[in-house]
């Protein structure tokens, strides 16, 4: 069965390209959100298997949002997408319970690799 994914990123370009990569690798994107508020609204009704989260969003502190997501959807695996230079934030995310991270800028292959590692 294909796994369900939610993408949280304020860039439409990033969301769409991630959708493309995920579809090619057999995942189903069930929801997209451009902000923390939008994301939480959505997560109240659906719990995807995987959540891709951009740690820098316009309306939220990424780490606080991550904590709320993990509390709301304890079974979802959260993958943090973040840029180089955010190593501190990444470390804290993993401590908070994030499963993996994808470093931006990413290539389709890198994203596919990270997702594959979640299967194991």
């Amino acid at each position: 069965m294909s796994r369900t994914v939610m993408i949280i990123d304020d860039s439409l370009f990033i969301r769409k390209i991630l959708c493309g990569i995920l579809a090619e690798n057999g995942y189903t994107v069930t929801a997209e959100a451009a902000s923390g508020i939008e994301a939480m609204k959505n997560l109240r009704t659906s719990h995807p298997d995987i959540i891709l989260l951009d740690i820098i969003l316009p309306d939220s502190n990424g780490l606080d949002l991550l904590a709320s997501i993990i509390k709301t959807c304890p079974t979802s695996k959260v993958v943090i997408c973040s840029a180089i230079g955010q190593e501190q934030v990444m470390k804290k995310s993993l401590d908070l319970g994030a499963t993996a991270f994808i470093q931006k800028p990413f290539t389709p292959e890198k994203v596919a690799d990270v997702l594959k590692s979640l299967e194991d």
């Binding site: 370009f13 990033i14 493309g20 090619e24 316009p58 840029a83």
Partner: protein, 539 residues
């Protein structure tokens, strides 16, 4: 993976990053202690680099990377943005914009960025100005910059909007225009056939058409910021070139205008701003000597009411002296010394718009065309707008451009002239009258009649349009349309006045665009062509 489907999205998002980036730089030069802006600049460069890396646009990545590097140095070293670096970064934005355009058009042209990359690599903030960010600020200023609210710079992009091509919008406007014309035809047929049972559906149709028109026009509206985002940069660059200090204030950039108007007014506004920096403002030394602050102020304000929008550009420079303008106009043979003597101060200010008045025939960088104030006035009139000039010697000048909110559908007064039907836009019509032949006085300078106690010039519309005079006996009365042209009133004698109608105006293409005194046309449902009068050109 095929990345080409994501190209359009990349282009549109990259453009948003670049325009915010360049706005932020100019803003940062104005308030150099705003460290939040440095962070934002860094993040825009960084996001752009990330997107480009994903798409394999290596040239974009390389340039954005070095720009990001410089910003990170400023950020870490707590330095102010040195003007020389601002110049390089702005050049970087321009180059990136060209690269994005090349990506959009699918062309393979490669920018030669060797010099720019070299400059970016070699630049060290320390070598320019060693001025730490904190510590040397007056306390007030520091508090002020700290109080600035963090700006929302990322846009929510949900599925609440779709991108459509502008041609499609224009097409929708055309169809709406046709429908409106068609409704008039239908209403006329119903009236002639005395089909009273059609009145109610016709009324409903009218209401629906009105809301369709309003909605379609709303869809064509864009915020003023679409053209305004380059103005702060333009003023800054011009001021730097002239060695002047200028503070630029832009208010009302969120106000929406018809896309057609925005396209046409950008260039005139650029011209007025250019004049304000080049000729309006004094140098810092001159200003200080005159007891003014060393830095000049240029403001651009957009305000709107229900039907109109006003764009007001002011400067606090030395202003214009009516007597000097008259003198110059006489020297250039534009007016005679007698005319000059009779002129009011206001009329003298309007001389700057006379063709041939401007000595600075500067060719604009942006369009490559020569633009003078006469071209500005012309452009404003073409959009059915007005231009007012105010100036106070020693205190500065003010240019007020006033436009209807939309241009394509206008309320017009339809008149007959020979075999033609002519539409006068209602915004220029003051009133209509019927004159007895005895009311009209024929003088050497032309016909006049008494209107509110003043002798008003009366032009024959047939003559103005180069049409033959009417055959047969003179009518018992003369139909007249009183129009305001610029600041004065003028009347046109017409054959017959039909009444008001909402018409959809199409611009004329060559050779029709060469017709004198006509600014557009509309085709009625039964195929007749109706010309729109340009009262200013007919005067």
């Amino acid at each position: 993976m095929d990345l080409s489907p994501y190209r359009d999205l990349f282009v549109s998002e990259a453009r948003k990053h670049l325009s915010t980036f360049s706005e932020l730089i100019v803003q940062l030069e104005d308030s150099p202690n705003d460290s939040a802006s440095i962070d934002e600049l860094f993040r825009h460069a960084h996001s752009l680099k990330g997107m480009a890396a994903t798409m394999n646009y290596e040239q974009v990545v390389a340039l954005a990377h070095l720009m990001e590097d410089q910003l990170s140095r400023i950020r870490e070293g707590n330095y102010r943005l040195p003007p020389a670096l601002a110049d390089i970064l702005l050049e970087g934005v321009d180059t990136l914009s060209r690269m994005v355009s090349a990506i959009e058009s699918g062309s393979d042209t490669h920018e030669d960025t060797t010099r720019l990359l070299g400059q970016l690599e070699a630049f060290r903030p320390e070598t320019e100005a060693r001025s730490p960010l904190q510590g040397d600020l007056p306390e007030e200023e520091a508090q002020e910059s700290a109080a600035l609210a963090p700006r929302e710079f990322r846009e929510k992009d949900a599925f609440q909007s779709v991108r459509i091509k502008t041609e499609l919008l224009d097409h929708l406007v055309n169809i709406t225009g046709e429908l409106i014309t068609n409704r008039h035809y239908l209403a006329e047929s119903i009236r002639v056939a005395e089909a009273t049972e059609c009145h109610k559906p016709l009324q409903q149709l009218t209401t629906l058409l009105r809301s369709l028109r309003d909605e379609v026009f709303k869809a064509r509206m864009l915020p003023f910021t679409v053209i305004a985002e380059r103005f702060p940069r333009l003023v800054r660059d011009l001021a730097r070139k002239q060695g002047k200090e200028v503070h630029f204030q832009l208010t009302g950039k969120e106000i929406k205008l018809d896309r057609g108007i925005l396209e046409e007014i950008a260039e005139p506004i650029v011209h007025i701003l250019r004049n304000a920096v080049d000729h309006g403002l004094e140098t810092a030394a001159e200003r200080t000597a005159a007891g003014k602050p060393g830095s000049g102020l240029i403001t651009l304000t957009v305000i709107r009411d229900k039907e109109h929008v006003e764009i007001i550009i002011t400067d606090d420079g030395h202003g214009m002296e009516p007597e000097e303008l008259k003198l110059k106009a006489v020297e250039k043979g534009i007016i005679s010394p007698e005319q000059a003597a009779r002129m009011t101060a206001q009329e003298a200010l309007n001389l700057v718009c006379a063709p041939g008045f401007s000595t600075a025939t500067a060719v604009s960088d942006i369009s490559g065309r020569g633009v003078g104030m006469d071209a500005v006035r012309e452009a404003v009139h073409t959009l059915s707008g007005t231009l007012a000039i105010q100036s106070q010697h020693g205190q500065g000048s003010r240019f007020i451009l006033r436009f209807p909110l939309t241009i394509s559908i206008i309320h017009a007064l339809i008149v007959q002239c020979g075999s033609f039907e002519i539409a006068f836009p209602l915004n220029v019509v003051t009133r209509t009258m019927e004159l007895q032949p005895s009311d009209i006085r024929k003088e050497s300078g032309g016909a006049t009649f008494l209107y509110e106690g003043v002798a008003l010039p009366l032009r024959r519309l047939r003559q103005a349009l180069n049409l033959p005079p009417p055959a047969g006996a003179e009518a018992a009365y003369q139909a007249v349309v009183v129009c305001h042209v610029g600041t004065s009133l003028l009347a046109f004698a017409v054959d017959r006045i039909f009444g008001q109608q909402e018409i959809f105006v199409r611009p004329l293409r060559a050779p029709l665009s060469l017709l004198h005194g006509v600014s557009g046309a509309t085709v009625t449902s039964d195929g007749r062509v109706l010309f729109v009068a340009d009262a200013a050109a007919l005067a």
